[in-house]
Symmetry: D2
């Protein structure tokens, strides 16, 4: 499979095979084997503290875990042989999973749009680690964190 | 305000003022100043890994943060003077917030219902810490974690 | 190698091959493939806050990581074939390593003796997770935490 | 007290009132209210894995917690009124403490010298958060982490 076909394959997986991400309106906007970016817009149903109008901590955790998962999957795929059939690639991605996640909440989750980036810190054939940051549309740091993932 | 009126006040806050919890169908089933329990049922839209049919890590993080937040809020209220007006209580609860959260994913998130319990480990007038566990309806441990919260 | 010879092999490794543990006076007092216990006594040089006479957070982290490492190593060895030569066992143990560690400090580290226990929570052939608690001689919970380990 | 006298006061505290830091040879090399740097040299007694010649995870945790603690203390002092008597400053510093610490171990701890830097991420009047990184003398990232601290 060509490299562009591969990327399309991954995008399809990410947009179709992760229902909860879709449910929250989290969209993958960039990724390669080193970094990823996901975005979502404010919605009233994502609020965790209505009097204060602040995002639920679980929404932030979801965005961080999603961005981390995307870059981990991309890095796993990059290591695979280029001619692997598409269904085998999906099988490999599906074996990836979060082992643990830490989220540090820096500022109240307020804004119109939230941009979460992830960077690979450790990339092994058993375990991979990614570091994530979430900013709002004004560039304010809302949260950061680290995820440790098992890779197939 | 009487103790039972107080509990009703808190329940109302938790069920009405946390839209994201409601959106995911997470219901507070028990709480006092030491422990809390929240539950939600499987829904296809909560899936993070469709080929494997596993909950999204962000859903688990949301359940843990919710259970932790509930017990923290109950413990904050317990410390307040009994005759505080209801709107003052809401103000105090609204000032609580998660500082950091760690989630350890032990087994794939599969089941019909998920029960998350939280226990207060540290309860100060600045910071409180809760420990959480999520099991499915068969009593299988799916995840555990710790949350550190700022209290008003 | 017999089972008792195996245990002796491990004990020797733990007491001779981990200089920092020895340096702090941390002694492995119990272990099997599910749980471990390590102990150390108060020493003035372990203090992190002299005016308050409290253990350094790094000492507590060391005790937790040590207890976690011990139970992980024991669980790795249990999975090995019984007739593996001793030097091969040492090689396998030496490949284990901490991926990440979280420590929650519950109470000031004060006491005469500190007892840290670890329990295996997840035991895979790539990754293992242990949960740890440290008490003083009066049974006061000083700290708890979680370690994620890579296994050979 | 003048600003330079203040800095000297802090340095004295850090070098004299933290015995465990001294015991491991960890020296504070830079600090202000935003960032800090601590250094230590390889010593055989700091090893956690003798066959592999790798630092004990607890040593790394100690260095990270120390760097984080230093920047937190500096930031607390910066907020104090300039004319506070020296013993009052010591009292304030002594009230600071680590609530929780996460360490991510990226590469085996090998090198001649280890440089740990900390940056303040959140600085409140109840809680402060610092992010830390440890490199060896070749600039290799060995570990990073986050500490949450209570401030007096």
């Amino acid at each position: 499979m060509s490299s562009s076909a591969l990327l399309e394959q991954i995008s399809t997986f990410m947009n179709e095979q992760i229902p909860f991400q879709k449910h929250l309106g989290i969209v993958v906007t960039k990724f390669d084997a080193q970094q990823s970016e996901v975005r979502f817009r404010w919605q009233d149903q994502l609020v965790g503290n209505a009097p204060m109008q602040i995002l639920h901590g679980g929404v932030t955790a979801t965005a961080l875990d999603t961005a981390g998962g995307v870059v981990i999957m991309a890095s796993v795929i990059e290591r695979l042989k280029q001619d692997l059939p598409a269904d085998e690639i999906v099988k490999r991605i599906a074996r990836c999973g979060t082992i643990d996640l830490r989220v540090d909440y820096v500022r109240p989750g307020r804004g119109k749009e939230f941009i979460t980036t992830a960077t690979i810190i450790r990339s092994g054939n058993k375990v991979a680690v990614a570091r994530m940051e979430m900013h709002n549309e004004d560039g304010m740091l809302i949260a950061f964190g680290t995820g440790t993932y098992i890779v197939g």
